[in-house]
């Protein structure tokens, strides 16, 4: 079992995960100086969707969505379970590939991406095999170091701050309508956290909502700072604007390479996202097939995800084009459509059961 605080931190770090790498420049490209408003709208939407998940999970206490699907839909529920397994695996492959792209572009250009994928998967697999407590505690342990060093690095960069770069303000507050991708990635992907829901002692609902709100505010603040430090035109053209912001920090002859600190923070955040997704995939296998062994399935997931990470997309540009077109619909199927249908089924069955008991 994990505590409410650990679940909250997992929600925040999972949502921030790859978002800080791949989304900030896209947001600025779309909304310019008003990019900071988009995560706030997306976060509000994410919280609304999370309330739907809460209604579903509260309708069958102690069960994950995969177990609810099996109970509600029988053999068809098992197919839904397999679909969720595919969803978690695809999202994990995406996170892994984002990580290796970042490492190859920034500090380790000659290391084969598979090395990053396999190393991360082996460590994450070991942590997942230890159970939800290890996942929760590991994340709680690293979060203070991440938060302090991340905001300290950015605070050092504020020497280049210029309010003029944020002008004109409030010209495009509804840019989120043109870029619904942000609603899917990262906010609907947090559906993976519902697999941990039955393992939270109490107060999971508040932790999930507060986690989503905190992550939305953090992403908004990051977009705001990036525009204030780099300007909208430059930030929109750079692949990893946050990295560039910190890379340009120079304090005399002493602090000149603090971007390596940021690299560690970003890969740790991605590792946490991978950890949750691997846990969700592993739990799904456990709940669907009730296997009696653990490590062979984690090894099988390592083989699958290490290949999936290489083939999930061709290159970051192709990925951006494809995700802009489909990610919202793709995530909506898993995080909106199936939970709504499940909730309706559970309520209808309850009504029918109540009537038959009365008669």
């Amino acid at each position: 079992m994990i505590s409410r605080g650990q679940y909250y931190l997992l929600t925040v770090n999972f949502t921030l995960g790859t978002t800080l790498f791949v989304t900030i420049n896209a947001l600025i490209q779309e909304a310019g100086t008003d990019a900071w408003m988009m995560p706030l709208w997306a976060g509000a939407y994410g919280m609304l969707v999370a309330m739907l998940w809460m209604a579903l999970l509260r309708s069958s206490p102690g069960k994950s969505p995969v177990e609810i699907a099996r109970v509600a839909w029988g053999p068809a529920g098992a197919i839904v379970g397999v679909l969720y397994l595919i969803f978690f695996c695809l999202t994990a492959a995406w996170a892994l590939r984002n990580l290796s792209d970042f490492m190859n572009v920034t500090i380790m250009p000659r290391t084969p991406p598979t090395m990053f994928h396999v190393m991360f998967l082996l460590v994450a697999g070991y942590a997942v095999a230890q159970g939800s407590e290890t996942v929760g505690r590991l994340n709680a342990l690293v979060t203070p170091f991440l938060v302090v060093s991340f905001w300290a690095s950015l605070a050092l960069a504020t020497a280049e701050w210029d309010w003029e770069r944020l002008q004109p303000a409030f010209r495009d507050p509804w840019a989120i309508v043109r870029y619904p991708t942000l609603l899917g990635f990262p906010f609907m992907e947090t559906f993976a956290l519902t697999m941990l829901w039955p393992r939270v002692r109490s107060g999971a609902a508040g932790a999930l909502l507060l986690g989503l709100a905190s992550a939305a505010v953090s992403i908004s603040l990051m977009a705001f700072m990036t525009v204030g430090l780099l300007g909208p035109e430059r930030a929109a053209r750079i692949n990893y604007p946050i990295y560039t912001v910190v890379q340009e920090v120079e304090l005399g002859q002493v602090l000149v390479n603090i971007h390596s600190v940021l690299t560690v923070i970003l890969i740790t955040l991605i590792f946490i996202k991978l950890l949750v997704l691997l846990y969700a995939a592993f739990e799904t296998i456990g709940q669907l097939f009730r296997p009696s062994s653990r490590w062979p399935h984690l090894l099988a997931l390592t083989i699958l995800l290490s290949a999936g990470a290489l083939t999930i997309y061709e290159n970051p540009i192709q990925n951006r084009i494809q995700t802009s077109a489909y990610i919202f619909i793709f995530d909506s199927v898993y995080a909106l459509l199936i939970p709504v249908l499940l909730l309706i089924t559970v309520q209808v069955r309850r009504m029918i059961g109540g009537r038959s008991r009365r008669s």
Binding site: L90, F289, S292, H297, L310, Y326
Partner: protein, 70 residues
């Protein structure tokens, strides 16, 4: 390519054989299904024709859209 057929394939076969030997047939089936899916993806990479997953997802949704729209 040799790593795929001399490294990965024997690893999958050995673990599957170990699971069968322990009479964990359900585990064998689950392990084989997941690892063979991974092996297939690896084989597509090694043979120079990778199955690009996000393109495949895009194609599925493109095919479904007119059908869903009625």
């Amino acid at each position: 390519m040799w790593l795929l057929y001399l490294g990965l394939a024997p690893l999958i076969v050995l673990i599957a054989a170990w699971l069968v030997n322990r009479k964990m047939f359900r585990d064998t089936a689950v392990f084989a299904a997941i690892s063979l899916a991974g092996f297939g993806l690896w084989a597509s990479i090694v043979h120079g024709r990778p199955i690009i997953l996000n393109t495949a997802i895009g194609r599925i949704f493109s095919a479904l859209m007119p059908w869903l729209a009625g």
